[in-house]
């Protein structure tokens, strides 16, 4: 039996596909095994160095005499990992006791070399230099603040904040509005770690130049680190004509009893998010008399508004001098003609009894 004419071409194609794919597959296997072996060797090496240097650092912290020489090429990664891990487990005064060790082993030079290396090494080196708090490294770290990667740029912001807080905050705060890829939680923590007041000062400056929408973003951070100062800005925002999203943000942040009336004005807002946040805010800053304002909200068409209103009522009715909040809320429940309002009070009371709440 012979193969048809076009079958010969087909056979040739299949033959070469077979040969090439098998060759490639075996070559890739060789690469994989090689990579695995190399990676294992590196891991062992770095782990050894990390263990050794962790011990040395513990000795330094225990005020023991240690003899050290400059870091060898093989030890840099292990040392930096040990250095970063140890610093993160210490309070700033304890952490300062390691600085001399960092200088003696030549951490600045080793880290400088790593800053030009792979991404992983670069990020580790930035963090390490931050812990070293050496002013001579400040200018070298600054370009990383503009790195396209949020991880590297935030690491740089954190490190710069350790090296020279006022100068770092002057650079970092204006960038908050430009960098949408920076997670707000991370920004807040970098600001919160600033202990010399420069973060508040810079936020203040930025707020002076901000428009309404950017103000909302900045005031969140300000509320975290200086609630008293933020209260004025929040008040100003609530009095201006801003959009519902901005109002919701302000209502989440408001924490000053002076703003009770302002907040109460939003209980009748058309957007349910605003009503919900207003109810919560009133529960936080209100007085027992405000419960009259919240009661109608138990019949709101949106579950979340009813839920937050019931929680706020419970909080207001539990205020000092009000007796048992649960009994008072039961009385409110009896007055409700709306079944949804009664149900939501049942839920909030049972959560309260069990210590469960969202």
């Amino acid at each position: 039996m012979e193969i048809p004419a076009n079958g010969a071409t087909l056979l040739t194609v299949a033959y070469w596909v077979a040969v090439l794919t098998l060759l490639l597959a075996f070559s890739l296997l060789t690469v994989i095994v090689f990579l695995r072996a190399r990676s294992q060797r590196r891991e062992r090496r770095d782990k050894r160095a990390q263990q050794h240097w962790s011990q040395v650092m513990q000795h330094v912290l225990a005020n023991k005499e240690v003899q050290v020489c400059p870091l060898g090429h093989d030890e840099v990664v292990g040392f930096i990992e040990a250095w970063n891990a140890t610093h993160e487990s210490l309070s700033p005064p304890d952490s300062a006791r390691l600085l001399l060790l960092g200088h003696r082993v030549g951490l600045v030079d080793a880290a400088r070399h790593m800053l030009r290396g792979r991404y992983h090494d670069c990020a580790m080196a930035i963090i390490a230099l931050g812990h070293l708090r050496d002013h001579s490294t400040f200018d070298e770290l600054v370009p990383f603040l503009n790195d396209h990667s949020p991880i590297v740029s935030l690491c740089a912001a954190h490190a710069l904040g350790q090296v020279d807080p006022p100068q770092a905050m002057a650079m970092f705060v204006p960038m908050i509005l430009e960098r949408d890829d920076w997670m707000p939680g991370n920004v807040a923590r970098i600001l919160a770690r600033n202990g010399d007041g420069s973060a508040v000062r810079e936020l203040d400056n930025a707020l002076l130049r901000a428009n309404t929408s950017t103000m909302v973003k900045l005031v969140r951070f300000l509320a975290d680190i200086d609630p008293g100062h933020a209260a004025g800005v929040i008040r100003q925002l609530l009095d201006s004509s801003i959009d519902d999203h901005a109002i919701s943000v302000c209502l989440q942040l408001v924490n000053d009893k002076q703003d009770r009336e302002r907040v109460a004005d939003f209980l009748g807002a058309s957007r349910w998010h605003v009503r919900m946040h207003a109810a919560s805010a009133l529960g936080r800053i209100g007085e027992a008399a405000d419960s009259q304002r919240l009661e109608p909200m138990l019949a709101d068409e949106v579950w979340w508004v009813r839920y937050r209103a019931a929680q706020a009522l419970l909080a207001l009715l539990t205020l000092p001098g009000m007796g048992t909040g649960t009994a008072a809320l039961r009385q409110v429940q009896q007055r409700q003609s709306d079944a949804y309002g009664r149900d939501i009070i049942d839920q909030v009371l049972s959560e309260h009894d069990m210590g469960v709440a969202a």
């Binding site: 072996a37 993160e88 991404y119 580790m124 149900d343």
Partner: protein, 503 residues
Amino acid sequence: MNTYWNAVVASFQHGSWGHALVSMQWIFMIYFVAINLAYLILNYISAYQIVRYMREYRANYLPPGLREYQPPVSIVLPAHNEMKSVVASVHSLLKTNYPEFEIIVVNDGSSDRTREALIEAFGLVKVPEAYRARLQTEHVKGVYASARYPRVHMVDKARGGKSDAINAGINCMRYPLFCAVDADCILQPESLSRVVRPFLEDRRVVASGGVVRVLNGCTVSNGMMSKVGLPNHWLPSFQVIEYLRAFLFGRMGWSPMNALLVISGAFGVFYKERVIAIGGYRRDTVGEDMDLVVRLHRNLREDKRDYRIVFVPDPVCWTEVPTDIASLSHQRVRWQRGLAESLWSNIGLMFNRRGGAAGWVAFPFMLLFEFLGPIIEVIGYVSMILLALVGLVPLKVFLVFLAAAVGMGMLLSVNAMLLEELSFGMYARPSQQLRLFAVAVLENFGYRQMNSCWRFYGTLLWLFGLRKPHRWGHISRDGSWLHDLSENETMPIVQPADGSSLP
């Protein structure tokens, strides 16, 4: 018999349809090259993505203080007749290092003591929760909460299937993001953080999935993955390679194009309001996880919304795969039916004016290679064997074709192994890599063909309308990884089937 056989051979050799069958080998060859080329392209897109991803996230670079901010997540755990495993699953979920979450176990009309086991283990009491039926479900008998475990809630409802159970969980949850988890999955402490991260980095993200890996052969301590290993048996070993291929480039490759059509039902995070907006999980399909993602694409594109459905290459969920042929075949038939149902019911997405890469690339790909693939493969196998038997294809030709098929299969598998090595390097010893390679070679001799036949059968079942509403199935698993669990965390040998439509 001999005379009859000779007559058959002669009719093949001299009849025009015998030669037509030989010519058809061209079609099979073109299809074979096309499918493998498409997978290779996906492979290289994935490789680029994974290398980029690993560059950024290989380690937790951020100092601890910067890692803590995470949005709260509701975890939904649908359960049906899981009396022995559900408590361990909840304990395992409670060990996640995620800062703020709630666990909603939905007891979907279990006939065993699932409900009582949960009540006893977590001190649950019925609460008068103002239940919001935003998604229609079977009757909800009660909502339970616990003072001792404030994160744990239980919804007790009449039986309605996995989709119905998740929908009931969605009705009860408080947080904006939710994660649907199969009751028989093992997570890693950082699983949730990894899959939630895309939501923090891009506000357009509505759904996010991660890699599901094979649990067989691994060690689990205190409900969490502690040591990664390879299974001792061939059948689960084949599935290790299969899962690597399916997730590391089958899924990852689509993510940068925003054309990912499947997020495994075993572990995926979704933006709750978007899921509610499209009516939640569909109850009349066995492929509810794929259907949900395809419907999300369809609806969001119709609404002209700028959105992202993303996939992270992190291994976030470990699942025990079937160890016997019957369970495996049952699972694969279900998956194929689920795929067919999801594609067919959302066919409007394909070549839709607003379909984007999902409608113009991923959907036709799934239809051509995943849905029609098994049919073409099975016809190809049968015709090749038939032609070889009647002498129309000489042994040499048969062997060359076989070598080409095996070579392509091996190349794809080794590429997946390389991606694994470049990313997480979970299989740490070189000997494990060599073993995986052996598996990648051997799976081409029987396993892949068997798999195609099951999927072919699944397609036929769907085609001839032998569809049933979603039910809780049963898959036999060997539980070989259980040895490290303490008594009260022991999971049963026979687990209820996962409802995932694809790995």
